[in-house]
Symmetry: C2
């Protein structure tokens, strides 16, 4: 299937059934069922080049029982259901290619319990990561996963999100203890207890994390928490080359320095960031690092990292121990996307990500830079290099068909390059619609066959976020 | 189903089919197919009170292709297949209640690759954890998961094993990057790439980890590795009560001290350990702790832990920084099982485990001690308390029917107690046969329904380790 076929306007399922389902939903939910054009479009994909495919209606549940009712009405009518958190997904997960009902968790945003001794909390899926961390701050606790956007935690679990400090704290798969999930038949499943570990049966928590709403709808999450570190120290370190920066990262991790974040910006990204965030960073490849721990431990980590960087020709290493300086630095990192768009005004930033074993990272970045240059794209790179994960963002004119064709080929080569280097076509953005053409090449027919069998078993009508993740058989 | 029903001699499937399958296997594998009584019995359960149910034959594959051939022959004849590592499982996972063929991975014990820059390795399932760590030592690397026994890594993945240092390094679910698995139809599935993280599709790695051989047979593992810490320091600290020891553990973790192991021994266990390991520990509840890091960091962690312990009435805190002293200490911990059996010569040690949120741990241990005392059992307790996981080991005379009945009820109350406290009936031993009566109570009918649906989809003939984990429908 070509990208253009994938993105062709998709027909809804039987229009009469859709109308009937919407009537039933309106009767049940009153003004919490919305069908206005504007609201529907807001609930289609809005963040990247992927076209907006709005749902037929949007419903705002206030409880798991509401979600069950939505699912039962839609199941009876064979109507797709698309869960919606904050809509910050980059791969089209919230689009409605076959029409259907978007389930917006805006009103399910309560923190239900914080167990500070157990370092966990129980929340509704609409809670965003910033909201949770504000709620937790007074108790000296935090939830570490930070994908940049202020995403909902339900959405982050559904896409197996990670971000800048996954190198130390893991991804969503490592930080969800249990989920409540409404299945395609309307039943509610609890995947696990609050115990920190268990060997009681199949790991349905991990099966649901990253399933992109295709197996069920998350209505409650139990998450791991961490004590806010006594000391946090962040710094920036320029390097003569991407290769040197990657090697410094490898040595840092090999020597057991528990780095909390280690982010690569290539020279092009540093230029963009300087311009957008009004900074004066040296315009060479750069690592942004952050250490968490006791005062002593953070100082020691910083010193040892500085030595490694120096050995590899990096430096000088500048430190920001004050919270305001650190915030400015990480805000600049998080604003990478906006900085990128500033390089080519009017362009769309086609943000994509791949992840490879860290030993192949420098090579993968270098080949990608060369490929972009040859294809004529401005394509800055930022990376969660501790995990071998990087983002490349060609800046494109989506109205230029020729350019879009060229960029499609560039993305295909990128995915193929990551797979050739024993990596994955997506480290953290997910498959959704945007990468549905690569998953078969990544996993092969046997593994995809198992995924399809599980999908078919748990959602025989294919009403749970259809048209995402698994290509048509 | 009562325990006695569960353990009643189980009929093999059609005996003629079994004979035919064994003939075909003998033709294919020659003297790598063994049917002697002694070898068959060695491949049934041998480690606890659960009766030995030997397979009809044992085959020793040398490659994934061999395993595929075994599976295809058995599938054709509808004969069960039971994977076998070192046979150290405690819950009857290797038994053959319906007869069938045990697949012993003794000959598949090669380390296929070590990627030191990526901190991962690729191994065959018969590699044991000690073998792997000996192989890795010269490269300054180690694999941390340590369930005590020198188990095979294939078995450890299949049962989602963990052990003493899971508090810092996680369990097998956190340390397997990818698996190759022979499915019930004989196909080989690769669950993931070597990338440190991915959001490409369902997490089949985690679905297979902990599936106890019921969904497929692991033929290759890619595991995460760690640099051997620059400094390791272990110590013992007596406490006035289990409650004080648990509170010290909670505070240690809350304050972000990255403790690598934190193990509770109750007074009874300390007495047993003193007697067996010829030590002179004070016979009160005790924490054994270990810290990993730089010299500075380890010293700081120890100092801070000492302060916490003192605040809670614990101490004096004695340190063992020399490798030999540390080894002696941890050997004594690992010998807890043998020490226990020494308390009541001739008894069987009915080792079991549960795991609860750490805030409930002291209460759960106290209730369990009181329950054992009331029921008249000597039942020492050791615990991976950083995770809320503990082992209680009633010492029983398996030939005394009345005592066995009483202990069955004690175990049922233990599981129910853990569930009532939002925990799990098994933190790390798995379900197997021994806990098959508790999994429904833990997960409820919807979740068990999903597990059964997945099992039915991937193994419609129920030939993959039948009679384990999921109770008959």
């Amino acid at each position: 299937m070509s990208v253009s076929e994938m993105l062709a306007p998709a027909a809804a399922r039987d229009p009469k059934s859709t109308e009937a389902a919407i009537r039933e939903l309106a009767a049940a939910f009153g003004n919490r069922l919305v069908t206005s054009q504007a609201v529907r479009q807001q609930h289609g994909h809005t963040t990247t080049w992927i076209p907006n495919q709005p749902p037929d209606a949007v419903v705002f549940p206030q409880s798991a029982a509401d979600v069950q009712q939505v699912v039962r009405i839609c199941a009876t009518r064979n109507i797709p259901i698309i869960p919606f958190g904050t809509g910050t997904s980059l791969e089209g997960h919230v689009n409605a290619p076959q029409g259907g009902v978007s389930v917006d968790f805006r009103d399910m945003n309560r923190v239900l319990a914080v167990h500070s001794e157990d370092l966990d909390c129980v929340i509704e899926p609409g809670v965003t990561r910033k909201q949770l961390n504000e709620y937790l701050r007074d108790q000296g606790l935090f939830f570490p996963i930070d994908p940049g956007a202020d995403a909902s935690l339900g959405g982050m679990a559904a896409t197996r999100a990670s971000g800048t400090n996954a190198v130390r704290y893991g991804t969503m798969k490592d930080n969800v203890l249990s989920l409540k999930v409404v299945l395609a038949n309307g039943e509610i499943m609890t995947t696990a207890s609050r115990a920190k570990k268990s060997s009681a049966g199949y790991d349905l928590t991990r099966l649901m994390v990253g399933s992109e709403g295709t197996l069920g709808i998350i209505t409650e999450l139990t998450l791991k928490l961490y004590g806010i570190p006594e000391a946090i120290s962040a710094g920036i370190c320029p390097f003569p080359s991407v290769d040197a920066a990657c090697n410094a990262t490898i040595l840092t991790i090999q020597s057991g320095i528990p780095v909390a974040r280690i982010e690569l910006l290539d020279a092009l990204q540093v230029q963009a960031t300087n311009a957008y965030s009004k900074l004066t960073l040296p315009e060479t490849p750069m690592l942004l690092v952050e250490f968490h721990g006791s005062e002593t431990s953070v100082a020691e980590q910083a010193e040892r990292f500085g030595e490694i960087a120096k050995d590899l020709g990096g430096g000088p290493f500048e430190w920001a121990t004050k919270a305001e300086e650190r915030s400015k630095l990480w805000q600049a990192r998080h604003d990478a996307y906006w900085a990128q768009r500033g390089i080519r005004p009017g362009s769309e930033a086609l943000a994509t990500d791949v992840c490879v074993p860290i030993s192949r990272l420098a090579e993968c970045v270098a080949e990608t830079q060369a490929d972009a240059a040859q294809a004529g794209f401005i394509a800055p790179i930022v990376g969660h290099v501790g995990d071998g994960n990087f983002h490349v963002t060609p800046l494109v004119d989506v109205n230029d068909a020729d350019e879009m064709k060229k960029v499609t080929l560039f993305l295909e080569r990128l995915a193929a390059r990551a797979l050739r280097m024993e990596g994955t076509c997506t480290g953290e953005h997910g498959i959704g619609q945007g990468k549905i053409n690569y998953i078969l090449a990544e996993h092969g027919p046997v593994t995809i066959g198992v995924m399809r069998a599980i999908k078919q078993t748990l959602d025989p009508q294919n009403i749970m976020n259809p048209g995402k993740m698994l290509p048509a058989g």
